[in-house]
Structure formats: structure tokens, C-alpha cells
């Protein structure tokens, strides 16, 4: 293949490039600083995605747009006249809300837009209330709003499917049978269901980003506006909102990207009811063709579709980069330098705020509450409400195949964290300390993993490593574990890199220069001066990276499926929810989710209260 020529050329090019820098700095430390992350990104990002390009743009041995034109002309992918689907259609006493089938690509975009729109509204309102109003119980709501972010991969949508089941769902039981508030039984499923599941788990991303922006607004800016006569909504519209816009935009675009690459919601709904519309999104389609091609070859069509999905999220990423720079998020993590403006509220206003916050806290936590119920009761078979408490599903965690997935996840995540921290510190250090083309490339590369759909990465890794690293330890067909570890460290790198970068920004360059002036080499001054000063940031970044490695799902369910004894937790959850395994039920998956949530809560607690680091979960 052509890549066999391009690869050596690329490496020679890199070496020449390096040599130029070598001569300028004559400093081994800096060379290592640049070279190691660049090699990492070359093999885990640039080359695998290049092989996707090669596959997608070749047809019959020639460069061609064939696969793209065939996708764009196929009504399966794009269809402006939907013939299937239900949107508010009533049959008997049930109203079906599944969404209409506009083809896989358009469906994905519509779902992502809807998710982004509603997440933004909810996130913006919540952020404003919590940042600007003071009322009893505010801190409790702050904590409760972390709950929707707790990882319940695959099970979240399964729970929603169960709650909205027309006859045996709890929601319909309460609002139709009991309170007669719904005119019909509601069957919420398919594309609309996917979007709902995503809104519930992603609106806190918008909320946290906007809140960070709001807290960082210098109160004197608003006070000046008030001094000049602005008040109420006009003050919000003219001053506060524009200043919070970077946070809102960042949150919106992240939500959009996450929605497009989400596998958890489609698989959860399919696992619960086999709904045909839940299968009609790009991420699921790619996942499915990956599973079918498991031991064979990935079709160029899948590669092309992956590239289309990738281009959407990269586009979003570029938008963020243009709008909210790396510097903004550094200042976000510092935060709270001044007393933010808060207003005490009473009476009707307080009541409205409570009603809003309580309903959103409950509704958004439904997947987590449901997951816990599935894990500790017989709810999965008992119908509308759980009847008995059981520890049966927790005991099943001790089953060899389940406990093996747990230990796999722990080992993978631990090693991945070490790699991510190492790569993250070298790239952040060069971004924070040096100017030039390589640091700016590293800057982009160490944040871009957020924008790379895991499923696309999995396809790229599979194609690249089974072609060029066949029969080596990186060959996923022999053993996917090493590649999974590298995939985790790449995908979760931004968490480590961002935290370390924030730490580095607080270490003045003069502190290192003083050490060098007194005789310490750059290497020594890094380890004696910089490292001790950023240690807390480093640990907090490592903990966060660990948590998100544990709950990583896209590459886990694809690459992890290549050898079942190597599958991590999320792979196992996927198997039981999706129903392609006979051992255990979704409740076993739910108890694994409870385990994940506990790890997550523990990590956030350690980070916030012991390391005293404010953890921004997602954001730029």
C-alpha cells in the first residue's frame, strides 16, 4: 500500500525537523520534551486517522470520492422525506414519540442539535441561578447537580427506556394512571429518547462552563453598567450574557460533539426495547459495522462514514479554539479571585427557583437513581416499582468474568494515567514555557482528543495497527490490552494536560530561571522547582484522568470486544445491556455502574477536599 512509502518519508521529515530545533537549543531536555509527545501523537492520532483517509478515498485502486458520493446519495444515510418513525402519533391510548427517520447522518445532526439546544437552555438558567442568587440549600443543589454527570454508561438509557415504557413504566404509571396529568401513555424512545438521555447527562457540562464564566466576571464590570443605568434583564443581555458567552459556547460545542459520538444512549435503548430508530445514528452504525467486521476487514464505507463524523467534531473543535482559547480555561480553574455578585432572593422568586431546581435535580438524576435501583433491587423483573432489595447483583461482581473486567479496567486505567501524566506534563510544559511552531502544535494536539469520537478512533486504530503492527504486541487481534491502554491515555490526555497546564501557569518562569542562574540545569530545575510546585495539580489531573479512563466506553466496547478475557468494565456493561451475553442481566451492568459512580465520587472528593483543587469536569 501507499502508506508503506509515506510512513518512512514522514519519519525522515520529522527527524530533519527535530535536528533543526536541536541545533538551536542544544538541550536534551527540550528535545525530549518535544520529541516524546510528538511521537505519541504521531502514532496514536495522525497515522491511524491517516489510514482512515487512505481507506475512505480509495476505490478500485485509485483516489476517488466514490464512498462519499455513495453515502450521500443513499437514503439510508440522508433522506429528506422520512417514511418511518413516530412523532406524537397516537395509537389507542399511547402517544409514540420516537422521532422521524431522516437517515443516519441527518438523524445524528438533528439529535445533536436538539441535545445542544435544550442542554444550553437548562445549563444557562441553572448556572445563572446558582451563580447570582443566594438562598438556603444552594450548596446542596450544587452537589446534586453533579449527580447527572456520574457515569452510568449504557444503563442510563436502559433506565429511561424502562421509565417511559407505555404500560410498565414508572413515569406513565404516575402521570397517566395515578395523576391523570398525561392525556395519553407516553412512549418516549428512539431518537427522541437518545436526545433526552443526552440532555440529562450533558446539561451539567453547559452549566459548569457557564458558571465558571460567570464567576470569573469582574463584578465591577456589572457595577459600572448599573452605575450607568442598566438593570435587570437589560443588564443581563448587554453585559453579563456577552461576558459569559465564551463559557456557553464552549459548553454547547462540547455537548454537540459528545452527542454525536455517544454510543451509550443508542445501545441502552436498543438493549431495553430493540427500538429500530435508536439504531439510526452514525455512532451506532459504525459500532455495528465494526462488530460485524470483527475478524475481517473494516469496509471503506465505514471508514468514510467515520471521517464524516470526525469532520463534524473537528469543525466544532476549531470553533472552540477560535473562540475560547487555552488561556481562558486556565483562568477558569483559578477562579474566585473576587467576591462574585450574589443577590439574596425571597418569596415568589425563591419558590420558582426551588421548583425549577428540585424538578431538574430529580429529573436529571433519574438515570443514576434508576441505576442504583436496578443494582440493589429486583426492579428489572418486578414491573413498575421494585419490590425486594437484593444483593444478588452485587455478589455477581465476584463472578470470575465480571471481576476480571474490573481488574482489567483498573490495570488499564492505572497505566494509561501514568502515560497521560507523562505526555501531558511534557506537552503542557513546552506549551507554557516556549513559543514557536512545535509548542503550538502540541497545544492543539493535547486538547484535540476531546473532539475525536472514540468510535472513529477505534476504527482508525484497528485499521492502522492490524495493518502495520500485525503480529506485534500492539496488534489488537492478538491482544487488545496494550492498544486499549494507549487509546485511554490519548482520549483522556486533555484532563491531565489541562490540570498540569493550569498549575504551570501559576509557577512564574523566574522561579526556574533563578534555579538555572544558581547552577541547576533545566532538567534539575524542573524536578526540584517546578514539579514540587505543580504536584497538587498533577495529582488532581491524574485522579480525573483515572476516573474517565474507568468509564471510557467507545474504544472499550469495540477494541475490547476483540478478546473477551481482555474486556474492561464498560465492555462488560455493554454486553449485558445489549443482551449479547447470556451471563447476567442489565442489573449486573447497573451494579458495575454503581462501582464506577463510587470511584468517581471518591475521586472528586479527594480532589476537592484533600488536594484542594477545583475540578472542572469537562470544558475548555
Amino acid at each position: 500500500m501507499k502508506l508503506t512509502y509515506i510512513l518512512p518519508l514522514f519519519i525522515i521529515f520529522c527527524v530533519i525537523w527535530m535536528w533543526k530545533i536541536w541545533r538551536r537549543h542544544i538541550d536534551l531536555f527540550i528535545i525530549g520534551l518535544y520529541l516524546i509527545p510528538l511521537v505519541f501523537f504521531t502514532f496514536l492520532f495522525i497515522l491511524p486517522l491517516s489510514s482512515l483517509f487512505l481507506a475512505a478515498f480509495f476505490y478500485g485502486g485509485k483516489i476517488s470520492m466514490y464512498w462519499f458520493t455513495s453515502i450521500f446519495t443513499d437514503t439510508f444515510f440522508i433522506n429528506f422525506q422520512p417514511r418511518t418513525g413516530y412523532m406524537f402519533n397516537v395509537y389507542g391510548d399511547t402517544m409514540y414519540i420516537w422521532g422521524l427517520d431522516y437517515g443516519v447522518i441527518l438523524n445524528t445532526i438533528i439529535v445533536a442539535l436538539m441535545t445542544t439546544l435544550f442542554s444550553s437552555i437548562l445549563g444557562l438558567v441553572t448556572a445563572f441561578i446558582l451563580a447570582r442568587y443566594d438562598f438556603p440549600g444552594k450548596n446542596l443543589f450544587r452537589i446534586l447537580l453533579y449527580v447527572p454527570m456520574l457515569a452510568t454508561p449504557f444503563v442510563n438509557a436502559y433506565v429511561l427506556g424502562k421509565l417511559f415504557h407505555p404500560t410498565s413504566g414508572l413515569i406513565n404509571f404516575i402521570f397517566y394512571d395515578l395523576l391523570h396529568l398525561f392525556p395519553y401513555r407516553i412512549d418516549l424512545n428512539g431518537l427522541v429518547g437518545i436526545s433526552l438521555a443526552q440532555i440529562l447527562s450533558y446539561f451539567p457540562i453547559v452549566y459548569l462552563n457557564v458558571q465558571a464564566s460567570l464567576i470569573n466576571i469582574d463584578p465591577s464590570l456589572e457595577e459600572q453598567a448599573e452605575n450607568l443605568g442598566a438593570k435587570g434583564f437589560s443588564l443581563f443581555r448587554r453585559i453579563t450574557f456577552p461576558l459569559a458567552l465564551p463559557g456557553l459556547t464552549a459548553g454547547m460545542i462540547i455537548t454537540f460533539i459528545f452527542s454525536m459520538e455517544d454510543l451509550s444512549a443508542p445501545i441502552g435503548f436498543i438493549g431495553y426495547s430493540g427500538n429500530p430508530l435508536a439504531k439510526k445514528v452514525m455512532s451506532y452504525y459504525i459500532f455495528q459495522s465494526f462488530s460485524e467486521a470483527m475478524r475481517g476487514v473494516i469496509t471503506p464505507e465505514t471508514a468514510a462514514l467515520s471521517l464524516i463524523l470526525l469532520s463534524f467534531s473537528i469543525f466544532g473543535f476549531i470553533m472552540i479554539k477560535r473562540y475560547v482559547s487555552l488561556k481562558t480555561y486556565a483562568s477558569i480553574s483559578r477562579g474566585g479571585r473576587w467576591n462574585p455578585r450574589v443577590k439574596r432572593i425571597y418569596g415568589l422568586r425563591l419558590f420558582v427557583v426551588y421548583v425549577f431546581l428540585i424538578s431538574i435535580a430529580i429529573f436529571a438524576s433519574l438515570p443514576q437513581i434508576g441505576t442504583i435501583l436496578l443494582a440493589i433491587t429486583d426492579w428489572i423483573i418486578s414491573g413498575i416499582l421494585p419490590k425486594n432489595i437484593t444483593l444478588e447483583y452485587f455478589y455477581s461482581l465476584l463472578h470470575p468474568s465480571v471481576s476480571r473486567s474490573i481488574s482489567n479496567s483498573l490495570v488499564y486505567s492505572f497505566i494509561a494515567v501514568l502515560i497521560a501524566v507523562f505526555i501531558g506534563s511534557s506537552s503542557s510544559y513546552s506549551v507554557a514555557r516556549f513559543k514557536g511552531i512545535i509548542p503550538s502544535i502540541l497545544d492543539i494536539l493535547s486538547t484535540i482528543p476531546v473532539a475525536i469520537p472514540g468510535i472513529v478512533l477505534a476504527v482508525g486504530y484497528f485499521m492502522f495497527f492490524t495493518t502495520f503492527f500485525r503480529w506485534t504486541f500492539l496488534d489488537p487481534l492478538l491482544d487488545p490490552a496494550p492498544l486499549l491502554i494507549l487509546a485511554y491515555s490519548f482520549r483522556r490526555l486533555p484532563f491531565a494536560a489541562r490540570s498540569i497546564f493550569a498549575g504551570l501557569q501559576q509557577v512564574h518562569v523566574a522561579l526556574e530561571e533563578a534555579a538555572m542562574n544558581l547552577g541547576a540545569s533545566r532538567f534539575k530545575s524542573f524536578f526540584k522547582i517546578v514539579l514540587p510546585l505543580i504536584l497538587m495539580h498533577l495529582f488532581s489531573g491524574a485522579i480525573l484522568t483515572f476516573v474517565y479512563c474507568m468509564s471510557e466506553s467507545s474504544t472499550s466496547v469495540t477494541l475490547g470486544a476483540l478478546r473477551w478475557d481482555r474486556g474492561p468494565i464498560t465492555f462488560y456493561i455493554n454486553q449485558v445491556v445489549y443482551g449479547s451475553i447470556l451471563v447476567g442481566s442489565a442489573s449486573v451492568g447497573a451494579s458495575l455502574c454503581v462501582l464506577l459512580m463510587s470511584i468517581q465520587i471518591l475521586a472528586i472528593t479527594i480532589s476537592n477536599y484533600i488536594l484542594k483543587q477545583r475540578v472542572a469536569i469537562y470544558g475548555f
Binding site: D27, H508, A510, L511, E513, A514, A515, M516, N517, L518, G519, A520, S521, R522, K524, K528, I529, P532, L533
Partner: protein, 357 residues
């Protein structure tokens, strides 16, 4: 202690010139100050000497050894940073001992030398404090002790007093000076404060936009500024442009607008002939009210008076020009009243016009 020689140092940051063909020859044990406004490149020059900044071209010598390509950690200079750069995670002792530990000096020796250094800066007893537990002045002394303890070949000071309050600054100034004289250490001091430069330095280099404009002792710089920038940067002055009309006993007669002004050229190096365009520089403190023969006399009226406690700054309008003069605090003529002031002929400094800017 070493001589420091800079030979044709050039440095640009993008379009900004930080150093343009800078040549300096700093003598052994000299207190040498680089004085200039912020952004003139003086800190960059100091960092180039320390090796923290790479220059575009030029060479640097310590004595006769070329250190141009030596990394900072091999140059053996002691630098005090503007913000002190004390490591917040280390105690005073650890901060000061750092350079010695890096040099793998024995424990006893480290203890002895750190103790000595702290005594030198009068901080004995504070070894176990952390930087945030110290006052600004104390932090500054720790930074100084940290730089001195390694017995550097050159002491580099980057505006070390600028973060202190006015009273402390003046106190530290004299301490610094006596310390330097005692240790006889070659010192390069960077500042934008002309008072500091004048009181501390053996020699001063005035810098602007990356260029060295004049090098000389404080007295030379003040009394014989070689160009207008130096004249106005050090002390205050009034500038009058004119044309040389006559020469008599070494004095030049300059016609400025309608006035005839007698004065002396700043340096013999300049060739000033009858008909040359020149600039006259008048220091405000050289004006007096009592007129004697041969003085240059100005008749005008008072435009503005600033009372400054020890003296009055008076702006006198003479024809189209405004002249700045300083008088005693018992000066008691009101604004808008006519006044006659005078300046001796040998106090009027004359610069060729081409050289002035």
C-alpha cells in the same frame, strides 16, 4: 571578580529591537548601572548576560573567556530577579542553600556559608521561615543572600528595589552600596529610577530603544549629557533651539528666537562653528533671581508654581518659550506676576542639533 565585556550584542523580539549593537566594558568590582525607561531592553540585556536569553548576534566575555554559548547554569552569575523569584515551597535556608547543594558542597560548608550570607543581609534567625512569612524587604534580602552565597563572578540585579515602599527603598539602597563595596563584587544593576542610578553607581549606561546612548560616571552623565534624551531623562531641563552667532572666550552665543544666550559646548569632541544649529539645555536648579553681570537674563511672567515642600518649581513664560526653574521654598511671587531670572553662562549646556536627538 571579573570584567564583563559585551561585544556588538543584538537582539530582536519580532519587530521590537531589544538590543542594537550593544558594546559594554564593565570593570572589575565596578557597580555598573543600566538605566532606561521600561521597555528599552535593559532587562533583556541583563538576561542575556545571565544566559537566560539567547542573543541574535554578538559576544560576551567574562574576563577574556568567551561565555556566549554557555548555558545559564554554567555561567556562575548571581541574579536577583525583580519579583525575587523565591521558591514558595522552600524555607529561607533551603532557598539560600540551593545553589550550594547543586554544586554538591559538603553539609557543614553549606551550613556555614548560608549562615554567613544571612548574617550579611541581616536575616539571621529567619532560616526556617517560608517566603510568604516574610516582609517585602526581607524577601528582597533573601534573594540577595541566595545570589551572593554562591560567590558569583558577577552580581546581576534586575530592579531589585522596585517592589519596596519608598522609605525602605532608600534604606536598602545604602545597604546595597556598602555591601557591594565590602565584597568588591562586579555588579550590574538594572533600573528605571534615576535617583537609584545616580546614588549607587560607579558608572551608568543610559539605554533607550535597545541602544546605549551614553556611558559615564553619574556626574558626567548629569553635567555633560551627550544628547537631549540623556539630558531630559536624567534630571529635568528646558530645551531651547537656536543658531550659533558668535564665539568669545570659549563661550558660544546662540540666538534662540529673539533672545541671545551664552553657553558652553557639552564636549570638546563636537565641532560647533558659527552658523551651526544647536540645542541649549538649561537645568532648573541653575536659575537664580539675583542677576549678576554676564549671566543670561530672561524676563517674563510666572505661569505656574508647584510647591514641593523643600522647593518650588516655577514655570516662567518668556516670549514664546516656557522655562522651568527651581527656587527656595520661601519664594513668594504670585502667578501672572512679571519676573526676571538668570542663569550663569557656564551652566548653559550646548549640544549640536544633529546630536541632540
Amino acid at each position: 571578580m571579573v570584567r564583563v565585556k559585551l561585544d556588538g550584542v543584538n537582539k530582536r523580539f519580532g519587530n521590537v529591537v531589544a538590543a542594537e549593537n550593544v558594546c559594554l566594558n564593565i570593570l572589575e568590582s565596578e557597580f555598573f548601572t543600566i538605566l532606561g525607561p521600561s521597555g528599552c531592553g535593559k532587562t533583556t540585556l541583563l538576561r542575556i548576560i545571565a544566559g537566560l536569553e539567547k542573543m541574535d548576534s554578538g559576544r560576551i566575555f567574562f574576563d577574556d573567556v568567551d561565555v556566549t554559548n554557555l548555558p545559564p547554569y554554567l555561567r556562575h552569575t548571581g541574579m536577583v530577579f525583580q519579583n525575587y523569584a523565591l521558591w514558595p515551597h522552600m524555607t529561607v535556608f533551603d532557598n539560600v542553600a540551593f545553589g550550594l547543594k547543586i554544586r554538591k558542597i559538603s553539609k557543614d560548608e553549606i551550613n556555614r556559608r548560608v549562615k554567613e550570607a544571612l548574617e550579611l543581609v541581616k536575616l539571621s534567625g529567619l532560616e526556617n521561615r517560608y517566603p510568604h512569612q516574610l516582609s517585602g524587604g526581607q524577601q528582597q534580602r533573601v534573594a540577595l543572600a541566595r545570589a551572593l552565597v554562591i560567590e558569583p563572578r558577577v552580581l546581576l540585579l534586575d530592579e531589585p528595589l522596585s517592589n519596596l515602599d519608598a522609605k525602605l527603598r532608600i534604606e536598602m539602597r545604602s545597604e546595597l552600596k556598602s555591601l557591594q563595596k565590602r565584597l568588591k563584587i562586579t555588579t550590574i544593576y538594572v533600573t528605571h529610577d534615576q535617583d537609584e542610578a545616580l546614588t549607587l553607581s560607579d558608572r551608568i549606561a543610559i539605554m533607550n530603544s535597545g541602544r546605549i546612548l551614553q556611558i559615564g560616571s553619574p556626574i558626567e552623565i548629569y553635567n555633560k549629557p551627550r544628547n537631549l534624551y540623556v539630558a531630559s531623562f536624567i534630571g529635568k531641563c528646558t530645551l531651547l533651539n537656536g543658531e550659533v552667532k558668535d564665539v568669545e572666550d570659549g563661550y558660544l552665543a546662540v540666538k534662540c528666537d529673539d533672545m541671545m544666550l551664552w553657553g558652553v559646548p557639552v564636549s570638546d569632541e563636537f565641532t560647533i562653528k558659527i552658523g551651526s544649529k544647536v540645542a541649549c539645555i538649561l537645568r532648573p536648579e541653575h536659575f537664580k533671581i539675583h542677576v549678576s553681570e554676564k549671566d543670561n537674563v530672561f524676563v517674563g511672567y510666572i505661569k505656574h508654581i508647584s510647591f514641593l515642600g523643600s522647593h518650588n518649581e516655577v514655570r516662567v513664560k518668556v516670549n514664546g518659550n516656557e522655562i522651568l526653574a527651581i527656587f527656595d521654598s520661601d519664594f513668594n511671587i504670585d502667578v501672572n506676576k512679571p519676573i526676571k531670572i538668570a542663569i550663569p553662562r557656564d551652566r548653559v549646556m550646548i549640544l549640536p542639533y544633529d546630536n541632540a536627538f
